[in-house]
């Protein structure tokens, strides 16, 4: 369901909704990452992830589409 009433977008309420990679990373990584059994709340790289993210977004999304069509 994508509602474009006024300026609100509610995304993800239906399984077929396309949630952006950025939002996925935000939620999946928000409470930290476990590395070598230790909880790492703020990864050295995470704050800077966004800086380089745009560069890989396209290639990753293409890769994910390939993954989907292979199913």
């Amino acid at each position: 369901m994508t509602t474009e009433t006024h300026k609100v977008a509610v995304i993800g309420s239906e399984p077929q909704d396309d949630v952006s990679l950025l939002d996925i990373l935000d939620h999946v990584l928000n409470s930290g990452v476990v590395i070598h059994g230790s909880l790492v709340i703020s990864l050295a790289g995470v704050d800077l992830v966004y800086l380089g993210l745009n560069a890989v977004l396209t290639s990753v999304e293409t890769a994910m589409r390939h993954l989907d069509t292979r199913r």
């Binding site: 996925i24 990452v33 704050d47």
Partner: protein, 219 residues
């Protein structure tokens, strides 16, 4: 839980654990390095999210933090038994509720592009832009939007770090919202969207599994 490996259920201390047998090298020994490889990070996070979301559609779920690896089935069972009470409490805390992400973007004036003489200076300035602004510095109208959302939510937390540097992002947060409050959420979103018209844009994503609300101290 992740990887292209199959996901299988295991019963531990009366709870169902969904696990997949992943490469020890990829997910333990080299995880720190892989986390810096954006291509790897993005693919692995998307797979993680798909698996957790699919399970969450059928049952209440407590998502393990990304990168949680047990070296054996025995060590998983031992850990679940040891934390059983905490896990049961966490299930109660997130019962019949979902995580929702809310972002407010300003559409008035674009932030000036970051310019710098050197690569290092560019990164320093860009990192400064990523610093989270305290709520007190956020516009009063956005603060009142935030407090209305907080009132209908069971818990709330600052939004994700990854998108903190998105252009024109004014404020963001994640909320744990009881399912019977979804109409209230919709009403608040509509009201503020109507009020702000062209000056601001609201983005709301969800329902997410309760990634940010598994541990009590995260709230």
């Amino acid at each position: 839980m992740d990887g292209p490996a199959a996901v299988e259920p295991m019963i531990c201390a009366g709870l169902v654990c969904w696990v997949s047998r992943v490469s020890r090298v990829e997910f333990a020994d080299r995880l720190a390095a892989n986390m810096e490889d954006l291509q790897w990070l993005a693919s692995a996070s998307v797979r993680h999210q798909r698996v957790v979301s699919e399970i969450a559609r059928h049952a209440a779920v407590l998502p393990a933090r990304f990168g949680t690896v047990f070296l054996s089935q025995q060590s998983l069972e031992k850990d679940v038994r040891r934390r059983k009470r905490t896990l049961v409490e966490a299930f109660k805390r997130v019962a019949d509720a979902d995580e929702w992400g809310v972002k407010v973007f300003t559409t008035r004036s674009a932030a000036p592009p970051v310019s710098a003489r050197s690569g290092r200076e560019y990164l320093r300035r860009k990192a400064a832009l990523l610093q989270e602004r305290p709520l007190a510095q956020v516009d009063a109208e956005v603060r009142s939007f935030a407090s209305e959302l907080k009132r209908i939510a069971r818990a709330g937390t600052a939004g994700g770090k990854v998108s903190a540097g998105q252009r024109n992002l004014e404020w963001q947060a994640s909320f744990l919202l009881p399912r019977n409050r979804r109409k209230d959420l919709q009403r608040i979103l509509q009201r503020f969207a109507a009020k702000w018209g062209e000056s601001r844009r609201i983005e709301c994503t969800g329902p997410w599994p309760p990634y940010s609300f598994v541990s009590a101290h995260d709230n």
